[in-house]
């Protein structure tokens, strides 16, 4: 019978063998079945063994690998070690016969039949064992992962030190470094995720990557911008672009740094930052100040409007609607009425009527 390479477990009630590779394969014998055991010493070409002599199988035996066999014993072969210790403990258990007076631990079965109850509870012990094994294995994996991670971080730290020393050299030379070298340096920082020690920006903008990205964005965003009245918040852009990509997404910083280059690359879009800190992308052809004029008309028609109302009327996001109204106010076209009912804008009659 070939049950090779496994782990032998001894409980107060059973002898369990589990295949080391295939954890699903698990067989067990109740200790009550054991008549006696004997040792067989190892020899040349032979491993140490324990021979377990068994009672004939009882009629209500659980289904196992074999319904019956012509042998009345099984042999446990210890290829590596453990035979002596195991023999000792197995003898102990057989002598003590603890299974006779111990109700097995966690019985969830309410069934009063002691035989059935015992079998069910023992099953739970088996499951618990499996979980314990799995936990130990997971722990081993994790600790290996952490070890590897620590080593990796050591190396990363060296990179950080090196970049600092290069940055110092650059400072000392006071701008004697070529533009090419600067770009190279910045792209190295980008790869490692190191903040630019010279300018303090995270990994520095102005790398080739960001230039490429800026050009790409100009292409991707043209139509969506036109569809949205020429202006979109950076948050909208972030979602739009990343949803379209699916993979290899842009980080928020990638997006911002690329957008900062739009104007200098003479692309048809530009980045604009409002007083509130809200960042938007506009078409070059878009003129927010002109839009303010039409906003004023809309507000005048309605007498007064909140950002919410204006947004619904015009079909804009509330965020951008508010920015437009605020800009109009800044330019003096609108007045605000700030109450607990909300922020409402009115045409600035002080200006128009004198």
């Amino acid at each position: 019978v070939k049950f090779d390479s496994g782990v032998l477990l001894l409980s107060t009630h059973r002898l369990i063998w589990r295949d080391q590779k295939n954890h699903e394969c698990c067989i067990a014998i109740p200790l009550s079945q054991i008549v006696f055991i004997e040792e067989q010493a190892a020899g040349i070409g032979k491993s140490a063994k324990i021979v377990v002599h068994l009672h004939p199988a009882s009629s209500n035996k659980e289904p196992g690998p074999f319904q019956n066999s012509k042998y009345s014993y099984i042999k446990l072969s210890f290829k590596e070690h453990g035979q002596i210790e195991f023999y000792r403990r197995l003898s102990e258990e057989i002598t003590q016969r603890r299974w006779e007076n111990m109700p097995t631990g966690q019985t969830i079965q309410v069934n009063k039949d002691p035989q059935a109850g015992r079998i069910r509870a023992v099953g739970i012990v088996g499951i618990e064992r499996k979980l314990e094994e799995k936990r130990k294995e997971t722990d081993k994996n994790i600790s290996e992962a952490f070890e590897d991670l620590s080593k990796l971080m050591e190396k990363a730290k060296e990179m950080v030190e090196l970049s600092k020393s290069i940055a110092n050299k650059i400072k000392e030379k006071q701008g004697d470094i070529t533009e090419d070298e600067t770009i190279r340096f910045k792209s190295y920082l980008l790869s490692m995720g190191i903040a630019n020690p010279v300018t303090r920006e995270t990994y520095g903008s102005g790398t080739h990557y960001h230039m490429q990205l800026a050009k790409q964005l100009a292409g991707i965003l043209q139509t969506p911008l036109e569809e949205r009245g020429g202006i979109m918040s950076l948050t909208e852009v972030y979602c739009l672009v990343n949803r379209a990509r699916g993979l290899e997404l842009l980080s928020p910083e990638d997006l911002v740094n690329a957008c900062k280059m739009l104007e200098s690359l003479k692309l048809p879009l530009r980045l604009r930052i409002f007083d509130s800190g809200v960042m938007v992308i506009e078409l070059q052809s878009h003129n927010e100040e002109e839009m303010v004029a039409s906003a004023l008309e809309t507000v005048s028609e309605k007498g007064s409007l909140t950002a919410d109302e204006f947004a619904k009327l015009v079909g804009m996001s509330v965020l951008l609607a508010k920015e437009r109204l605020l800009l109009a106010e800044k330019m003096g076209h609108l007045c605000r009425d700030d109450s607990v009912e909300g922020l409402r804008f009115y045409p600035n009659l002080f200006l128009t009527q004198s």
Partner: protein
């Protein structure tokens, strides 16, 4: 002539170091690839491992989420995980903004994001959300993290919230609402100061006024009481989120 020689020397030195960095970078990339082939799964599946990883990076001065083009992102896939999470966070916040004025508890955000991700998506922890939000700040949409009573309120609108507002939010966190008297007794403020703060929260839509309450008016924070009901995001609300 001497000056020129010194200058040249200087350039050569930098060139050398850059060359050295380039070589070390290649080596590091290989190490990282090896690490990824063994443990990439760990990062994806294990939130605690992610925390450790992030903390270690921070300690040595490295930001693995700075760029999608960085090694960390490309090889470990950390980038995509967090950037996508960012998109999901934005969408949830936008959808619920009209209900809570742009303030939401981390718990509710967590729940809604998990719902949106579906049954088969990777598990996402609150720590993951916080890291993604920190990255989103740079987009200028007013993302902020406000500590209250052991958890956090996430702000997603560019409203000015100073120390006074924050402290009142923290006070309100216990019961979901706060009154002027409570502010006066707990914080020892003048009525005027308390009222100013509460009015600001009302205007921003972050607080609702209950004038029918017994005793004095109560200022409720929808961000705090919707957590009890955990309502679904309606289709209309979801549309608000998608550009």
């Amino acid at each position: 002539l001497r000056q020129a020689k010194y200058k040249e020397r200087g350039t050569v030195l930098a060139e050398d170091q850059l060359a050295q960095m380039s070589k070390q970078l290649d080596m590091f990339k290989t190490n990282l690839e090896e690490f990824a082939s063994k443990h990439k799964q760990e990062i994806r599946k294990n939130p605690e491992f992610r925390v450790q990883f992030q903390d270690m990076c921070a300690t040595i001065g490295v930001d693995p989420l700075a760029s999608g083009k960085g090694f960390w992102s490309e090889m470990l896939g950390v980038g995509d995980f967090y950037y996508e999470l960012g998109v999901q966070i934005i969408e949830v916040c936008l959808a619920l903004k009209h209900r809570n004025g742009g303030l939401i508890t981390l718990e509710e955000l967590h729940q809604q994001v998990l719902k949106g991700r579906g049954k088969f998506a990777q598990d996402v922890s609150q720590d993951d959300l916080l890291r993604a939000i920190k990255k989103l700040k740079v987009l200028g949409n007013g993302f902020g993290i406000i500590p209250v009573g052991g958890t956090y309120l996430i702000q997603s609108v560019p409203a000015e919230l100073n120390m006074d507002h924050t402290v009142v939010l923290q006070l309100a966190e216990k019961k979901g609402y706060v009154t002027v008297s409570e502010i006066r007794s707990s914080l020892k403020w003048e009525t005027e100061r308390a009222k100013q703060v509460l009015e600001h929260l009302l205007k921003e839509g972050m607080a609702w006024l209950d004038t029918q309450a017994a005793g004095e008016p109560q200022y409720w924070l929808p961000a705090l009481f919707t957590e009890l009901y955990s309502q679904e995001i309606t289709p209309e609300e979801a549309k608000e989120g998608i550009p």
